[in-house]
């Protein structure tokens, strides 16, 4: 298969970027999207040109490292997959493919197609965890959990933090990511203990980092490689309302006690 690639090139975070056009030929239809980029990079290196930087790690759809906005969709034109799971057979021979980095104020471009997603880490640091007591390993199933709760928590826990929700959202909102983390923990007894503090702290951090608001557009759930539903955003809103109505506000200036 042959393709024309229109790829965003940007020297560094401060440089002004531009699109470059590349032709690539004789690509197997069984080639994965990232393998296709590898082949292109080898050709560039052979020509002593700078290879294209892009994020990847596991290449099996589990680490959340790969990204890329491909022809108007994060992770390309297929549902419930990451870019590393996308194959060239999903494209038409001779097609032009536009490849862009995630675009969001909170995800600045570092180089070419690589963006800085540490904003997500900061949100997690604000409260996306439980203060577990250490000690011996507890018995499995010692705490009874309703099946539906366990399943819902598991669905939310599937989030790999790739940022496709932010990339696809017209408002560059991180609500689906935050919702997945909050909902995951809020459905489980261990997470419920700090639920009020957690949701307020995470939303506060999310707002500070410059993500947009949720307008219930639903692009995030259409693009989430793990198929996380915006029902979790409703859960986040519920948790937030409950926390604001019921909990004490975090102390002025001090960090939230989690």
């Amino acid at each position: 298969m042959n393709f024309t690639l229109k790829i965003w090139r940007q020297e560094n975070a401060k440089a002004k970027g531009r699109f470059e056009i590349y032709k690539i030929t004789d690509i197997s239809s069984d080639c994965s999207f990232l393998e296709m980029l590898d082949i292109l990079n080898e050709q560039l290196v052979d020509k002593i040109e700078k290879p294209i930087c892009f994020d990847h790690d596991c290449r099996e759809g589990i680490c959340g490292m790969c990204s890329l906005y491909i022809n108007g969709r994060p992770h390309g034109n297929d549902d419930d997959i990451t870019t590393c799971q996308l194959h060239m057979r999903k494209f038409k021979d001779g097609q032009t493919i536009t490849i862009e980095p995630w675009r969001s104020k909170a995800f600045p471009v570092i180089k070419d197609l690589v963006v800085d997603r540490s904003a997500f880490d900061k949100i997690i640091q604000a409260g996306g965890y439980i203060s577990a007591t250490t000690g011996g390993v507890p018995d499995g199933n010692a705490i009874p959990i309703r099946k539906t709760d366990a399943d819902t928590a598991m669905d939310a826990a599937a989030c790999i933090g790739c940022g496709a929700c932010v990339a696809s959202c017209k408002n560059a909102s991180a609500m689906l990511f935050v919702a997945a983390k909050v909902s995951h923990l809020a459905h489980l007894p261990q997470g419920k203990i700090e639920a009020h503090e957690r949701v307020q702290a995470m939303v506060k951090r999310m707002d500070e980092l410059g993500f947009g608001n949720c307008t219930n557009t639903g692009a995030c759930e259409a693009e989430c490689p793990k198929g996380i539903k915006i029902d979790h955003i409703a859960k986040l809103n519920r948790e937030f309302i409950a926390a604001r109505l019921g909990a004490q506000l975090p102390k002025e200036g001090g960090s939230v006690a989690i």
């Binding site: 675009r103 949720c214 557009t217």
Partner: protein, 304 residues
């Protein structure tokens, strides 16, 4: 962007929840408004509609709600703009390829459909509400019972004054006043519109101009109200105004189409059983309200 003072910095979700609650309140208002407007369709020469408009124009609870309503609309617009501007700024560099993600279509139109509704609101206020507060000349009506009451009050006042007189001069003055008053009342008999209403057993004298009102109140200080029925009838004789109303009502329909279901999601109400119902009710509501309002200009253009 200048930083807002601390007490005005609300969490993103707080803003959305407030927007949604106000939106739902505005929907209740739309239903009330629609209910009253549909009285216009009744073939009773505007009796029901005038009664409803009279209630809405004079009841004190309604007057309080009018203030609340204007505040709610202002806050809805303010919040919507704040949120929208924040959202635009969250992606300073856009994509070269347009989004191909599957989304709720109406959501992308919210700010534009909303701004059209806001523009419509301004035009609509100029069309009707301005006449009520006296910034525009409208058509007016007077209740016949109010004339009778005002007549009795005036007569009583004159006879009271007559009893209190001490000198002949004062007495002559009152008599002159009384004659002038009686002469003035001639006007009620000679004016066709007035005498028809007074002798025809009607409840209202309708379709009065500001000049006629001035003539009447010069004789009798009688209360008058805007005659919205006539104003509606006259306004919708113009084809372009009818088309303009239909255009704006389409924008309202789009706004409500997304807004109804979205408000429930914002308030955290997502449920496998009830959300599909809410979505259907939302579509019915959006269509019902906009078609319901749209019938009125169409009806008056073709049938009156």
């Amino acid at each position: 962007m200048p930083k807002l003072p601390k007490f005005l910095q609300f969490a993103s979700i707080t803003k959305k929840i407030t927007l949604a609650l106000i939106g739902l309140f505005l929907m209740l208002f739309l239903l009330t408004h629609l209910g009253i407007n549909l009285c216009l369709l009744r073939n009773d020469g505007g009796e029901w509609f005038r009664a409803a408009a009279h209630f809405m124009g004079t009841n004190y609870i309604v007057k309080v709600f009018e203030v609340v309503l204007f505040g709610a609309i202002a806050l809805h617009i303010l919040l919507a703009l704040t949120i929208q501007i924040h959202n635009w700024r969250a992606r300073p560099v856009g994509y070269a390829s347009g989004s191909k993600s599957k989304t709720a279509f109406g959501s992308k139109l919210m700010i534009w459909s909303g701004l059209l509704v806001a523009l419509f609101l301004c035009i609509h206020l100029v069309n009707f509400w301005f006449a009520k507060v006296g910034w525009n000349e409208g058509r007016y009506l007077i209740k016949v019972s109010a004339i009778e009451k005002a007549y009795k009050v005036k007569q009583q006042a004159l006879s009271d004054a007559f009893i209190k007189t001490e000198t002949d001069e004062e007495r002559m003055q009152i008599e002159a006043d009384f004659v002038a008053f009686q002469d003035g009342l001639e006007f009620f008999q000679t004016n066709e519109k007035l005498s028809d209403a007074l002798h025809g057993g009607f409840d209202y004298i309708t379709d009065l101009s500001k000049a006629e009102i001035r003539e009447i109140t010069a004789v009798l200080p009688v209360k008058y109200e805007p005659d919205f029925y006539v104003m509606v009838r006259d306004l919708f004789q113009n084809k372009w105004i009818v088309l303009m109303y239909l255009f704006f009502l389409t924008a309202l329909c789009f706004h409500l189409m997304h807004a109804f279901q979205s408000a429930f999601q914002t308030l955290g109400m997502a449920h496998s059983k009830y959300t599909p119902i809410i979505k259907v009710v939302g579509v019915i509501f959006a269509l019902g309200v906009s078609v319901g309002f749209a019938i009125i200009p169409i009806f008056f253009y073709f049938c009156k």
